[in-house]
Symmetry: C2
Subunit: 193 residues, 2 copies
């Protein structure tokens, strides 16, 4: 890991980052139990499309460092539900994240452990502040074109994927009547006690 200042470059055209330490490629098969329409999910598994990719610059996992990189959510749907990331809480709950939308159209679905929720629209030029304690999932609501965001979060934040894998998000973003709508997730389970 670099000890001195360094640069990387974002190509907004294709969402590429010129330097990265980690390239995560998430396929449909990594999203078991997250999409509401299970038959549609099962039918797509043989193809197992890539849903999203993350290019990340790693830093030491300490509070004063800043992890940063690019998230690319490819367009598509599973049933009526748009392509999305797994979503996660930070392991250190009291850590925020900043997103800057570079390309595409989408939404960030968020919630707290106490059950508050929020959905904010993403479009180029928009900055989103995800305060400490809010789980977050990016959704690509365009059926053409990637949703590309630049993200920054504290080095010590960590990722807790397990909580969302178990309980899901309270809200889903689905296509109804040709446009994105927020609906209650009928399978959402409140955290136990």
């Amino acid at each position: 890991m670099k000890q001195r200042p360094f640069t990387s470059s974002i190509s907004v055209t294709d969402g590429a980052l010129s330097e990265y330490d980690n390239h995560i490629v998430r396929r449909l098969s990594a999203m078991k139990g997250q999409y509401l329409d299970e038959p549609a999910y099962a039918a797509m598994l043989s193809q197992d499309p890539v849903l999203y990719e993350v290019y990340e610059i790693k830093r030491p996992e300490s509070a004063g460092e800043l992890m940063h990189g690019i998230s690319i959510v490819h367009p598509g749907k599973v049933g009526d539900e748009y392509s999305m990331t797994k979503g996660h809480f930070h392991t250190v709950l009291d850590t925020a994240e900043v997103y800057y939308c570079l390309k595409g159209e989408g939404a960030m679905v968020m919630e707290t452990p106490e059950g508050e929720w929020s959905v904010e629209e993403l479009r180029p030029g928009r900055v989103l502040y995800v305060p400490p304690r809010w789980a977050h999932r990016s959704v690509n609501t365009a059926l053409r074109g990637d949703l590309v965001t630049f993200f920054i979060y504290p080095g010590n934040a960590g990722h807790d994927y397990g909580t969302i894998e178990q309980q899901g998000f309270r809200k889903l973003v689905m296509e109804h009547d040709g446009r994105a709508q927020i609906i209650d997730n009928p399978r959402w389970r409140a955290r136990e006690g």
Copy 2:
């Protein structure tokens, strides 16, 4: 201060941020002792031009929060030295900062308390990582057009302007033979002790 997720929008055309808590306007008169050419500085004081502006979204000053905003360095020179920010260390030295250049051409001049230095070029699409412990100053090396950057740093970082006001930066960015060059600052004083 907002408790829930929120968005703001950056207009890259004019570097405006749609929401902000703090608008800093820094004029030449705030830069006493920083520019090498003192007669040129003195001659410009009657006009006292605005050198740069910062639009900042404030967050609680705790380690897990992220301050963020837009910095706009207007073009110009004082003598042969380009328009620049005051520059600072973070009060909590072990905190980093991320810059994303949106517009213009420039450089980030950096140094550590131990006297290491670095100058990195800024241009649209470039991401700069300023690691913990590195003081930083933005310089607009274009004689036309603003240098616009989006910045993010930990909520507890704070600003130590005083150290740079006293000692300056080791390196200056000056125009020589029609292009930007890095020169030693003859007035730089190493930190005592």
